[in-house]
């Protein structure tokens, strides 16, 4: 069983900066981590690996050189090997260009039975890369997956959708995007950390045999940010500070009024 997990190295959400001119995220000086939602994809891949040996997990990430840190952390959790796609030709890629690059590298590096993605990246916040990669590779896709059962050459999965949980099955190979509902991701082990330190990460750079000029980065991206602006907050901000029982009752009355002026109770 060959598994691949796509992970993204993202700035910590607390202190994001953006380049107002270019409309891209400024990565300099901001701590970056594994996209927290990708931990669930890693966890699910590890569970499959444990239940269905022999299996191997390859991590694939497109990002700056320091994404190595995130890849090593995922290796410490139990993944086997890692590929980092990096270079200035890739920077500024939108979800289309990112998915194209990831799919080319996946196609070249192996016939994966299951490719796992996070539900979305906390910086881009689109949920588009998983389905787009699947489409480039002509694979079936199942999104918002909360349970995976594997038997023979088939997966059965639950998907969390708006009104309930749907169960689907699909033949392999398949791409899954994993929801947080899958369970708690494990922590790196001491042994894993040791292995991660010495693990060699395979670098993929822009290569004419894989990509045509202009296919990647800003040039290869069909979407372009034309403007960035601060959202206008139109909140009225009436904040009451009741000091005694009577005032509490009054605030509650006003709260009920506030609601019933807007929605029929």
């Amino acid at each position: 069983m060959k598994l691949a997990v796509l992970i993204k190295h993202v700035p910590e959400t607390d202190n994001l900066k953006i380049d107002e001119k270019k409309g891209t995220v400024v990565r300099k000086g901001v701590e970056s981590i594994i996209n927290p939602l990708d931990l669930y994809a890693i966890e699910e891949a590890l569970r499959i690996k444990e239940k269905h040996p022999p299996a191997s997990i390859t991590l694939v990430s497109m990002g700056p050189p320091d994404a190595e840190k995130s890849l090593r952390e995922a290796i410490a959790m139990g993944c086997d090997s890692a590929i980092l796609i990096t270079g200035r030709e890739f920077s500024g890629s939108d979800t289309y260009a990112t998915s194209l690059v990831l799919s080319r590298v996946l196609k070249k590096t192996g016939n994966y039975d299951i490719i796992l993605c996070g539900e979305r990246a906390t910086d881009g916040d689109t949920s588009q890369v998983g389905p787009a990669v699947a489409s480039f590779l002509d694979l079936p896709v199942l999104t918002y997956v909360s349970r995976v059962e594997l038997s023979d050459n088939e997966v059965e999965v639950d998907r969390i959708v708006e009104e309930g949980i749907e169960t689907y099955s699909a033949s392999l190979p398949v791409l899954l995007t994993i929801s947080k509902a899958i369970g708690v991701p494990r922590l790196p082990t001491l042994k894993g950390k040791k292995r991660a330190k010495s693990a060699s990460i395979k670098y993929v750079h822009f290569d004419k045999s894989l990509f045509s000029p202009g296919e990647t980065g800003l040039e290869g991206s069909p979407t372009m940010v034309v403007k960035l602006f601060r959202p206008v907050v139109k909140r009225k901000s009436v904040i009451l500070k009741p000091r005694n029982e009577k005032e509490i009752d009054e605030s509650i009355e006003r709260l009920i009024d506030f609601i019933s002026e807007r929605v029929e109770l």
Binding site: T95, S99, P131, T223, V225, L240, I248, I259
Partner: protein, 348 residues
């Protein structure tokens, strides 16, 4: 005069068209509005005409309702293969329809289906796609769709355009536009489109669906009552549920409440949970961490109750009470009960 052709993707649940699909028609109809005319009718004479076509996969009881709410035409995909969401089947059909109709714009709701099929389709079309837009405008001069969405956790808004690719595609945030009223005097035009069955094969099979209990689903709730760590323990979370019951509201939660097992994950609101846009969002014992705000700050009105006057949640609230939720909630619930008693007629 130039016609601007807009396709929208409708969705059904048990044969009923979902409200997001009607909202999409309001989105489509508003594309030519300008800042000045916003909200008014857009029937100015120099304006190009809009043609809005809804694609409706799966058998629906009332496909004509899409025309009543603003579609000029409905393409109804009635074959069994469209009954459930099979991405490969949907993609095939949508590619065929786009090839035939050559739309300028293609819109879907940012639902689980919309967010899956749109990127699956856009890659094949070699075009761009903007996720979860909160504003769309069509620039008549350039023919470009200006797609605005929150970026960086909602701290910044980004306006995006599609620079190459024939169809300009976007998903829009559910519940961020009023559902258009039904006008049965509008003309109905429905085409039942069928494809050769061998083209509709899929490696994915639908097996079953189990619906959440009523009230568990947040996506169409007009009011959401959310509880956070301030509730202190699992039993206390009942206060949130009870308040929600009396308000006819959905129940939400912060990650702290979910991680402590007080309520299940489908209720989590925020960056790693759901994005909700109810008319009223009530945050109780929630501090208002940026990751929580990311999921609820586009609610129409926000109410908060927190004991800490400096809690971040107050900075995004329209109405707030600084106080102990354990003092406030029982009385609030009591008052709501009294109100119901006083007006029993209005209930029926």
């Amino acid at each position: 005069m130039k016609k601007i052709k807009v396709l929208t993707l409708a969705e059904t649940s048990d044969g009923e068209i979902v409200s997001e699909s009607f909202e999409l028609l309001a989105w489509a109809r508003s594309l030519l509005e300008t800042e000045e005319s916003e909200g008014e009718s857009s029937a100015s004479s120099e304006k190009p005409q809009l043609e809005v076509i809804s694609i409706l996969p799966g058998k629906a009881h009332h496909p004509e309702e899409l025309c009543y709410r603003g579609a000029d035409r409905v393409i109804h995909l009635v074959q069994d293969e469209f009954q459930h969401f099979l991405p490969e089947v949907y993609r095939y059909a949508l590619l065929e329809i786009i090839e035939r109709e050559k739309p300028d714009v293609f819109l879907a709701s940012a639902t689980t289906t919309g967010r899956t099929i749109m990127p699956y389709l856009a890659s094949k079309l070699r075009t761009g796609l903007t996720a979860d837009c909160t504003k769309l405008r069509y620039d008549i001069e350039t023919g470009k769709l200006l797609q605005t969405r929150p970026a960086v956790g909602g701290n910044v808004m980004a306006t995006i355009k599609t620079v190459f690719g024939n169809v300009q595609m976007a998903t829009v945030r559910p519940n961020s536009m009023r559902t258009p009223d039904s006008d049965s005097s509008r003309m109905v035009q429905i085409e039942s489109l069928e494809f050769p069955p061998e083209k509709l094969r899929s490696k994915v099979r639908f097996l079953k669906r189990e619906d959440f209990d009523k009230g568990e689903s947040l996506h169409d709730a007009r009011i959401i009552v959310s509880g956070g760590k301030g509730l202190k323990k699992a039993e206390n979370f009942k206060l949130i549920e009870e308040l929600a019951k009396h308000l006819g509201a959905g129940v939400g939660a912060s990650r702290e409440a979910v991680d402590r097992g007080w309520i299940t994950y489908p209720h989590q609101v925020g960056l790693s949970g759901k994005t909700v846009t109810p008319e009223i969002y009530i945050a109780i014992g929630i501090s208002g961490a940026i990751q929580h705000l990311a999921g609820m700050q586009s609610a129409e009105s926000i109410i908060s109750i927190n004991i800490d006057p400096d809690a971040q949640i107050f900075s995004v609230s329209d109405f707030g009470i600084v106080g102990d939720l354990f003092e406030i909630l029982p009385r609030l619930i009591e008052k709501l009960k009294e109100r119901k008693k006083r007006a029993p007629e209005a209930e029926r």
